[in-house]
Symmetry: C2
DNA sequence: TTTACTTCGTGTAACAAGCACACGAAGTAT
DNA sequence: ATACTTCGTGTGCTTGTTACACGAAGTAAA
């Protein structure tokens, strides 16, 4: 059942840059393409937008279909429209980026992705289409956003230690942060709740566990509060 | 000459939020729709994306066609995709925002816009489609960006006084700023060049004119410099 | 049970940045 | 000459940022 229009129309896709934190390294989830074009090449998970769904829905759907990842922080990034970014025909792609807690998300191959795998953000394979550019944009956005919005928690398990949080910031921003100053600042925002639990990791003193409280953040935001690291 | 595709495709448009500064008030350029839907209603300038142009090109083209505004700061904002945002059919719109120096840009009506006019950003008429939402997003972005990137100059003539610049920040951010502190900070960035000219405005001491130097900004940015007001 | 090992958790002093604040200078108009 | 208006400048106080070191708490092995 073909559909016809008076003027030619570009095809619309979504692509997702999925960030995860693993052993202190920032990783990106890629799928190996099972079909042409770029068969065998690694690519961002994504696919065509259906005419009866929003872009947010399309991004979430494709992400789950191709990698099994769902219920994660997912936000629109930028729309890419270079004329020849797809060799088949005119395709415009709305890019999204996601932050996931790696421990929760065992990856899974499905549908037209023959394989899904995590790669270090700094050592990527050759990518299909203009996906390097999309990735670079996503990284820039992640680094920018991390500094002035408390979204880093999305990359950690619900309960985490301050040392884990600090390592997250150091890894993503590529800086070295002083332990005492970091803790003073972060706790000063009053967004974290100390739990009655500790986390043992190796033969040494266990660390206090904390939890992020989004409600507190919303309340503070309304009062013109600024998170800034 | 109809075009047909295996699956239905959404139509793609661009919409531009054009900001200008006039007599100390932030204004937005709107056009009055000459055709249905929403005939007679005010709307953002914009239109359908052609299949052989990028989104940036489409935004610049539509902006010039409908309002005569060209060669201005124009940046992609966000892509809007609510299912029923257009009553005719599925239309996805990529929004852009532009900053223009009002003095330079006499508006002009053209093609399918029966009229173009500046409105105060705080007192808008009823708008077509989901354009209120787009506008709100643009305002938020403008305010956010102004604080940490030197883009405000785009709203002023090439040569401006520090008082004008200060009023710009006060107007857009809705704050009151101390004169001496503002000047100290802004000049401290070393992004402005004092000219050998002054600006007379009324029967009193004339003010020193300055010019923004984008090259200096680029150089500083590479050294990890942060603009922040 | 003592010792070795490792991370956890904490305070202070020097320094830099932000903020509040007032007045003489330089023009024009009468 | 005087009145009027905006221009352009400096200082002290308060606040936030940075640099920095050591005892506490736990495990493992001798």
């Amino acid at each position: 059942m073909p559909h016809h229009y008076t003027y030619p129309r570009a095809a619309l896709t979504v692509d997702c840059v999925v960030f995860g934190l693993d052993a202190g390294a920032l990783k990106v989830l890629l799928i190996q393409r099972g079909i042409d074009p770029f068969k065998g090449r690694w690519a961002l998970p994504g696919g065509f937008v259906r005419v009866d769904e929003t872009l947010d829905e399309a991004a979430a759907r494709e992400l789950e279909e191709e990698t099994g990842v769902k219920d994660v922080f997912l936000e629109q990034l930028y729309t890419f429209s270079a004329i020849d970014r797809d060799p088949r025909e005119r395709v415009i792609s709305v890019a999204y980026y996601a932050l996931v807690n790696l421990a929760d998300h065992e990856t899974r191959a499905a549908t037209d992705a023959s394989d899904a795998q995590w790669f270090p953000a700094e050592k990527l394979p050759r990518l299909a289409f203009d996906h390097v550019e999309i990735l670079a944009t996503a990284l820039k956005r992640l680094r920018g956003k991390l500094r002035y919005e408390p979204i880093g928690f999305e990359l950690l398990p619900p309960k985490f230690t301050l040392t884990q949080l600090q390592h997250l910031y150091e890894t993503v921003l590529g800086t070295k942060i002083d332990k005492r100053n970091f803790r003073k600042k972060v706790l000063g925002f009053d967004l974290l709740e100390a739990l009655n639990e500790t986390h043992r990791e190796g033969p040494h003193r266990p660390a206090q566990l904390y939890r992020f409280n989004p409600a507190k953040y919303e309340r503070l935001k309304k009062k013109g509060f600024l998170f800034e690291l």
